[in-house]
Symmetry: C2
Subunit: 612 residues, 2 copies
């Protein structure tokens, strides 16, 4: 893929359907705190974001991958064009659509912001990590910082003046964050002296902004072991005065950057804090030993952001593969396949190519619906806070429950579907002339960072399912159940809705099984063994539901559509039917397998795995 060629593609009609027709953007638009937003404003933002993604970020995706980042004089140099793109991104306000006006933002709903983010990530995943991390660090500081910290750091990290990072991982502390060894010692002036090494820090150094603000987990001397003894510190790369002017280098040095399978234009850094015992940090919010819960405020957003990345690349892979399949001629049409003189058909005419494309289409649309639904719950929770506490709690609960699904299912399917896009192209897809091999390489990290998908699965079964006495889960199941009851006899979708009901029974049975295991010490090990399977089942139930919901809506609102609109609404039907027939039955099957309580993976002795 030559640099400069735009490869990002999406069908905005599908985005509009999800936002406006399926999830009723009108229910949040125009109401406090989203007073300033209406459907026209939202459409304008989405159109502009698509243009920016295609024209500015897309052309830097392949070139950024080929060039990668490099280290010069102890600093990261990002690929050609990134600095200019960063400037334009902030000038045009794409990162502040969902930010509160208190911090210089536009106060838009999250429903809109997640779709903006999808396009930015889809056009250039590696690039969008730099502003993405800065955004997360700013949100955390806005939520947990002291008034002075908010004033000094938040807006500058939101408007592109400064970058930001989250520094959790250490060589011995990956998934096991509580094993962190980085230390903090209080200085006489109230600041802290930070010492330690952090690894896998995305955007840990770069040349896009004049400063990078690190949020660093460290243990204050004397604090307890594990996560409960961790505190969070603001550690600027360059020290700053209270007015925001730069003082001079802090004692933070770049150790090295990783050479990775993908997202090669995103600098993944080893950072050394306090090599000269002169690294100064401020305690976030001035409170000790609450670093983990503070970091988790950022982490939930980060996990949703990873789900968005997954959706973004799967969708970009789908639309690129679709275009290729309509264009590329190969073989005879299905009805003349033995006639070598027949005109060659576009490969989308071949049954297997069509099968792969419809599988991609259904998953992409279903995952997008799940994401927008999660965002809608976030928005409604904000709208109802202080007005209807019970409803607000319901919406917040759904956000909690759906976050691990969006992160894990979004990332797992992303990698699988990007690889399937390669298969649609055939040998051409394996070459760098087309973007899908890069999408595949880029997407593999999504199942790992911001908490591996197993950590997400354990978050679901060990934490979210039981939250509020199980209320979030029960409310989710009640929502699915209400849809089933309403549409069981639907003329077009009745059969598919029955399949959904069977899937729901499977999820319920497995949830009961997990609950039973949690009360029986001898069976406890079945929980981590089955957690990923359960998360996947629940994701398939949710996606199947939302695809059918979309199809029912499409049949209603599209009844008299013609031309392109008619074709669009027809597409919603086949996404839902394909998924109901080819994926939902697996949920029942997975429930049967969970019920067998297979423990072979832990019964096998360590030695029996083989000698290496």
């Amino acid at each position: 893929m030559s640099a400069g060629i735009n490869t990002y593609k999406i069908d905005l009609r599908e985005v509009f359907f999800t936002l406006f027709e399926q999830f009723g953007f009108g229910q949040v638009a125009g109401q406090a705190p989203f007073d300033a937003w209406g459907s026209e404003e939202a459409k304008a933002v989405l159109n502009e974001t698509y243009r920016f993604s295609k024209d500015v970020l897309g052309p830097l995706n392949a070139s950024g991958d080929r060039e990668g980042c490099r280290v010069e004089n102890g600093s990261v140099i990002t690929p050609k064009g990134f600095k200019e793109a960063w400037t334009k991104l902030y000038e045009q306000g794409f990162k502040t659509v969902g930010v509160s006006p208190d911090h210089g933002g536009q106060g838009g709903p999250m429903m809109l912001q997640v779709l903006v983010e999808e396009m930015l990530s889809g056009a250039n995943s590696a690039f969008n990590m730099y502003p993405g991390l800065a955004f997360g660090a700013a949100e955390l500081t806005a939520e947990c910082g002291t008034p002075e910290q908010k004033k000094l750091y938040v807006e500058r990290m939101l408007n592109g003046t400064w970058g930001g990072t989250m520094c959790l991982t250490e060589p011995q502390a990956g998934s096991d964050v509580g094993a962190a060894k980085t230390t903090a010692r209080k200085n006489a002036d109230g600041t802290y002296n930070i010492r330690g090494t952090k690894i896998f820090i995305s955007g840990g150094d770069h040349d896009l902004a004049e400063n990078v603000i690190h949020l660093v987990l460290a243990r204050i001397e004397g604090a307890v072991p594990g996560t409960k003894g961790l505190s969070l510190f603001i550690v600027p790369k360059i020290r700053v005065k209270p007015d925001g002017s730069l003082l001079g280098p802090n004692d933070v040095t770049l150790g090295s950057i990783e050479h990775k399978m993908g997202i090669r234009a995103s600098a993944t850094c080893v950072l050394n804090f306090g090599e000269n015992d002169a690294c100064v940090g401020e305690l976030v919010g001035g409170i000790e030993n609450v670093g983990m819960s503070q970091m988790f405020k950022m982490m939930n957003g980060a996990r949703i952001a990873v789900g968005i990345q997954g959706l973004a690349l799967a969708s970009a892979a789908y639309f690129n593969a679709l275009e290729y399949a309509k264009d590329r001629k190969q073989g005879a049409p299905m009805n003349k396949w033995k006639d070598p003189t027949a005109p060659r058909a576009a490969i989308i005419e071949h049954a297997d190519v069509r099968r792969m494309l419809l599988e991609m289409k259904a998953h992409v649309e279903g995952i997008r619906a799940l994401l927008v639904k999660l965002a809608m719950h976030t928005d409604k929770a904000h709208m109802l806070a202080g007005k209807d506490d019970e409803q607000a709690a319901y919406h917040r609960g759904q956000v909690e429950l759906l976050t691990p699904l969006v992160k894990s299912y979004g990332s797992d399917q992303s990698f699988r579907l990007c690889a399937q896009a390669i298969q649609v192209y055939g040998g051409a897809g394996y070459c760098q002339d087309y973007p899908v091999e890069q999408y595949t390489r880029d997407s593999k990290i999504f199942s790992i960072y911001e908490g591996t998908n197993h950590i997400q699965a354990m978050d679901l079964v060990g934490r979210k399912m039981g939250q509020a006495g199980g209320a979030h889960f029960q409310q989710f199941m009640a929502d699915v159940g209400a849809f089933i009851d309403a549409h069981r006899e639907h003329k077009t979708y009745g059969e598919a809705v029955k399949q959904l009901a069977a899937a729901q029974e499977g999820v319920m049975a497995s949830a009961m099984a997990v609950l039973g295991w949690s009360q029986e010490p001898a069976k406890m090990t079945l929980i981590p063994l089955s957690a990923n399977r359960f998360l996947n089942m629940m994701s398939e139930l949710a996606v199947g539901w939302l695809l059918l919901d979309a199809a029912v809506i499409a049949e209603r609102v599209g009844a008299s559509a013609t031309g392109d609109e008619k074709a669009f609404y027809e597409g919603k039907k086949w996404s839902a039917l394909w998924y109901a027939r080819n994926v939902l039955p697996n949920v029942e099957q997975a429930a049967r397998m969970m019920a067998t309580e297979d423990t072979s993976s832990v019964d096998i002795s360590l030695e029996a795995f083989g000698a290496v």
Copy 2:
């Protein structure tokens, strides 16, 4: 991964089990035409191959990937060290274990040769393609060439003097080989003038040997369109005299090489034949218009070779991930997971890591068993040819039937399991410090080249299933049935055998469904729509059967084993039980889905896929 570090790993105990204990190497060893071979000879070859793979090929795997191939003065330069490795490979005879003594080979059984190939490919997939293609071209020439062609080309392509390629694909003719436009015009001296462009030619040019012999599909002027009008030509890069001495350049020029996701050290070439109207080719065997069937003799071997590549990387990924999981400490042990002061556990102690490893172990062992079974049938067919025609035909039939399974299941699972190995490592696996990200990139091509996996699936359902009036398939099912009957009440495996029986019923029901569709024009489209699913079902049935077969044998022969041997045999048990409990149930489920006759992928209109 720094160049020079050896990363190839296998447990030879497992290889020996499959060859000697499960598939009774002794039944072919020592008998004509394998008179010279016994178990000790085979073990010695396997030990030496492992040493060579670790010490010579393994250290060039990462460095070859990073360096890639380049073009200088119209020729391909392979990565540093490849030339020396090529020389050693041939000096030590690894490529001729299975070659007939008539062509300078060692006359060993294919059962042994495939395991040798597994290690060569596992250590360095990209490197092993150069000798692999030469081997295929030599085999084809040995089978189809005139006596003069055999004498001139075969041994030189088998001993490393000359390389070899197969040139099928053209820009407009990929899966649709019959659309080839390359032409041949007969010269007065009986040679042919070749003109055309071939793409995706693996090893199409390189600096490892003094010459490269291309086998080129072309259409003789006036021949019919489609595959039936194609002839096969020997087209040397450098023209040769009948005594093998080099005459001077032929009119074959290197257009370019591809930049690929993986196997980057394997040169994938665009070749232009006859740009100056002076490209000379010889007709293979002197027979016109039989090029496709000649090429297919090479193609079957090439497809098995791709299955071997898939197995090789999945196995290498497994053993690397296993070693890492035993070594890497992270988190508390399962029984103390809330205690931050507990000593950290190796990650293999964690249930989810163990689940991933056992899944990899079971698949790798099952696919290896399937491969060795296929090779055993090949060997027995050779042994029995002319002695027991009926039995020989049975064995040949099983080779035909199993080839698409080995190619497709081997390649699909390879990519999936290599990616799973990354997940075992976590973030480290995404970095080039470990080999698994490269394995993942390398393995993605296996589902595409030598006939996409959909072409394999159509080969199975459209051709192999019906061969000999369905006899091959019926014999396969009878063999599975005999195992089920013998072990249905097995003390340890009875339950698992019942699961196998249910899977067999699923495959049988789906086979009947396919047969029904083939006789009903309105349902014909269900065949390509379901072919991949059916191939996967049949592969899972075969692998489940062979894993249980291995486990039953292990229980018997390992009854009084102690120490490492006891652990090894225990491992066979868990591989079989894990697969029976977690994969075989999906076969039944897939059969139920086939029975729904879902045609949504072809019912959807082209326009409904979306606007791009």
